[in-house]
């Protein structure tokens, strides 16, 4: 549709946009360096002894009582995975693909914060620059313009995520190598270890992490369209998204998070893991997210369509 092409032109013809893309690339690079320096990724020949040592320290940590639920969960998961590697004689392997799978939720989080900038200004900036008057007096209804702008903001988020994942694969391949595409990705589901082809895991977790991006962009877009303030929209959205992200991790496993939308946005827990709270299902989570997106649009859409442009 022409209106979406217009919005895309306005996004991608600005230098600023490419600075944001560069940010995502730098972010991924930092993650790679981080992993390379902080963790021992090369287990070498004596990987068995290393895993065994790790398991001992993990068991010790599990005995402590002052840990968060999420810490316990992570430790138990790691323990199970390590045991699985030992039992089946599979040496753990870090390669470009497994790195990318592991980084997806990080990348989506970083991308969301940046996509909020576009989502937050795509409507408000037209008011700020006065171009809204020309835009709304063309042969296009406000409804069409609203949805063209929303689509363009979402597309930008997806594009940025893709850039992030491709960078992750490309640059980590220089360090970890591209081998291992035929290998399996292992995860813990219902106390047992399951393996799926790595490519399936990559595409799967990309798709399953996207609700977070949608929620962040929609929130920014809603404030932008309803209140016409770019700054307000970006600041509030980044704050809410940050707090939501941190709470959903820190409070993981607490019963009340069932009613907290950011605990639902990572759908990976249903396919490649265990739900954070018992009783949560994929359908329920998807429904809960859609409900939130709908509410946001129900606030901003009528305001945008009816507003007097004075």
């Amino acid at each position: 549709m022409n209106l979406i092409r217009n919005e895309n032109m306005k996004i991608y013809k600005r230098k600023r946009t490419w600075v944001m893309v560069a940010f995502v690339i730098v972010y991924v690079l930092i993650q790679i360096i981080n992993l390379k320096t902080a963790e021992d990724t090369d287990f070498g020949k004596d990987w068995r002894t290393k895993l065994e040592q790790e398991n001992i320290s993990l068991s010790k940590e599990l005995e402590k009582s002052n840990t968060l639920i999420i810490e316990d969960k992570q430790a138990k998961k790691k323990l199970l995975l390590n045991q699985y590697y030992l039992e089946n004689n599979i040496p753990p392997d870090t390669n470009a693909w497994s790195f990318a799978v592991g980084q997806i939720s990080n990348i989506i989080f970083a991308v969301s914060l940046i996509a909020i900038i576009i989502g937050g200004e795509i409507v408000a900036a037209e008011f700020g620059s006065g171009t809204i008057k020309l835009l709304l007096t063309q042969s296009a209804s406000r409804t069409k313009i609203y949805f063209a702008k929303y689509t363009a903001a979402i597309l930008f988020g997806l594009f940025l995520t893709l850039v992030g994942i491709l960078t992750a694969i490309l640059f980590s391949s220089f360090i970890f190598g591209l081998d291992g595409l035929g290998g399996n990705y292992f995860f813990v589901k219902d106390q047992t270890v399951v393996g799926v082809p790595i490519l399936q895991a990559l595409i799967g977790s990309y798709l399953l992490n996207i609700p977070f991006l949608f929620l962040a962009i929609t929130l920014a877009f809603m404030i932008s369209a309803a209140f016409r303030s770019t700054t307000f929209s970006i600041v509030i959205s980044i704050l809410v998204t940050l707090v939501g992200f941190i709470l959903s991790i820190a409070m993981n496993g607490w019963n009340w998070t069932k009613y907290f939308v950011f605990s639902h946005t990572d759908l990976n827990q249903f396919i490649f893991g265990t739900p954070s709270v018992e009783g949560m299902t994929l359908g329920l989570s998807v429904g809960f997210i859609i409900l939130h997106l709908l509410i946001l649009h129900l606030i901003s859409y009528p305001i945008f369509v009816k507003r007097d442009v004075a």
Partner: protein, 303 residues
Amino acid sequence: MSLLQISDLTKKVGNKIIVDHLSLEMDKGEILGLLGPNGAGKTTTIRMIVGLVSKSEGKVFINGEDTSLHFEKAMKQVGVIVENPDLYKYLSGYDNLVHFSRMNSKVTKKRISEVISLVGLDHSINDKVSTYSLGMKQRLGLAVVLVHKPSLLILDEPTNGLDPAGIRELRGHLISIVKNEGVGVIISSHLMSEMEMMCDRVAILNKGKLIGIHNVSEMVEDECSEVGFEVDRPDYAIQVLQSFLAGKTIIADRKQIKVRIPKERIPEISQQLLGAGINVYNIQTVKKTLEDKFIEITGGNIQ
């Protein structure tokens, strides 16, 4: 069918009535001015016509198309500039044109280059708009609203912020567009001398109400105008003329004497003066401006 038909257009905000049951019509090839002091409701009227502001009451038809029912169809025939043409500064002039021509179906590349040369921007069309002068932006704004060949142009205070040369240029463009493309133009302004030069008809608004619609030529060319005679002996001249022009007021202003008379009487008056031995150095007709007329019509009660 008229190009633009407005009936009972009303805007209320709270208890305040900003535009009060305004009705008017205009045809193709006509430049109609909306004239009125600040706060008369010109801008609100224009914004209601183009759908930027919602109507409290009334209807707007463009070529018979109701703008509330078929907004897209009606707006296909309209080009709008509200105040200064705010364009995308970070895009080039050409990209701005592409942007807005995509919003209207059936705009060819040929048409785009046509409007570019029409407004004389051939050399700078690929530069970013942020490098343009106000006059260039104004011209690009015109190109943007003309690119889809509208039959109605709506301009709200187009001369705001332009210098006299810019205003003159804009006027030239508008008049040639009306002539060449046969469009109708509706302009709001508070600059009366401008309206006098551009418009065929003016609709005068005051406090949200339409006071009257006048043909500019009729308004300006009155049967009686003020004529000033510059003479060497004004006191004597008044004496001479008093008996000749019985009943008329004669005003002496230093060496000038002023009377309100029809044009046809100028020769006989000058003959009278010369015959009495008074030297006449200058005869001047003071044209009545739209401004005088405007003050007269609104009763001078602009506030």
